[in-house]
């Protein structure tokens, strides 16, 4: 059980890197990359939580988070791309 707690703390450090890139990223794409990292860390946290309490409920949460992360990343990336092309022409 202590090893799971240690893994959660280290994943929290990785999520802090995502928060830093989301806050101070120089371009908009960097912020979306930080958001992607935060979603991935959330999926990892869901896996570790399901492992800790030994129930399958958090695995459903992890599947929902994965689908949401795909939709969010695709729509933001498309929006930034269209905006850049508009400014360019």
């Amino acid at each position: 059980m202590n090893l799971l707690m240690l893994a959660m703390v280290l994943m929290g450090l990785a999520a802090l890197a995502g928060v830093y890139r989301l806050a101070v990223g120089p371009t908009l794409t960097d912020r979306i990359i930080g958001l992607d990292m935060l979603f991935a860390c959330a999926i990892g946290f869901c896996l570790l939580a399901a492992w800790t309490i030994e129930r399958t409920v958090y695995l459903d949460v992890a599947i929902g988070l994965a689908l949401t992360s795909i939709v969010v990343t695709l729509s933001w990336a498309r929006l930034i791309e269209l905006q850049s092309q508009e400014k360019q022409s």
């Binding site: 893994a7 990785a14 794409t29 930080g34 399901a50 695995l59 994965a66 795909i70």
Partner: protein, 111 residues
């Protein structure tokens, strides 16, 4: 059981390497390259480790079903999001540099 814990440690180490690349790399394309691939690898290794734990503890088929579905979703759709991020990063990078000849190349290919 030791193999399960070692695999979990490997997953966490790969995730920390992804975080390091997110912090230290100089460019938005390079950061995207570091993060998406390393995160896919880390989550896949973590799911495999949890599958090993479930098999060792004999927790049942509902775990295996959900974990395999999650693995398929991650492996199918994270490269898609990574490609979209790379395209948007490239467009944003060439936005300020007008007059470069290779700047319009990706637009010609796409249309």
């Amino acid at each position: 059981m030791i193999a399960v814990w070692l695999t979990l440690a490997l997953a966490v180490i790969v995730m920390l390497i992804a975080a390091l690349g997110l912090l230290r790399l100089p460019d938005s394309l390079a950061r995207q390259h570091a993060v998406t691939k390393a995160v896919t690898l880390a989550l896949s290794i973590m799911i495999l480790s949890l599958i090993g734990f479930v098999i060792l503890q004999d927790l049942g088929g509902a775990w295996i079903l959900r974990l395999v579905v999650l693995l398929i979703i991650l492996l199918a759709f994270i490269p898609l999001a990574s490609h979209a991020l790379a395209k948007s990063g490239y467009q944003e990078m060439i936005k300020d540099e007008k007059g470069k000849t290779d700047a319009t190349e990706i637009n010609d290919v796409k249309r």
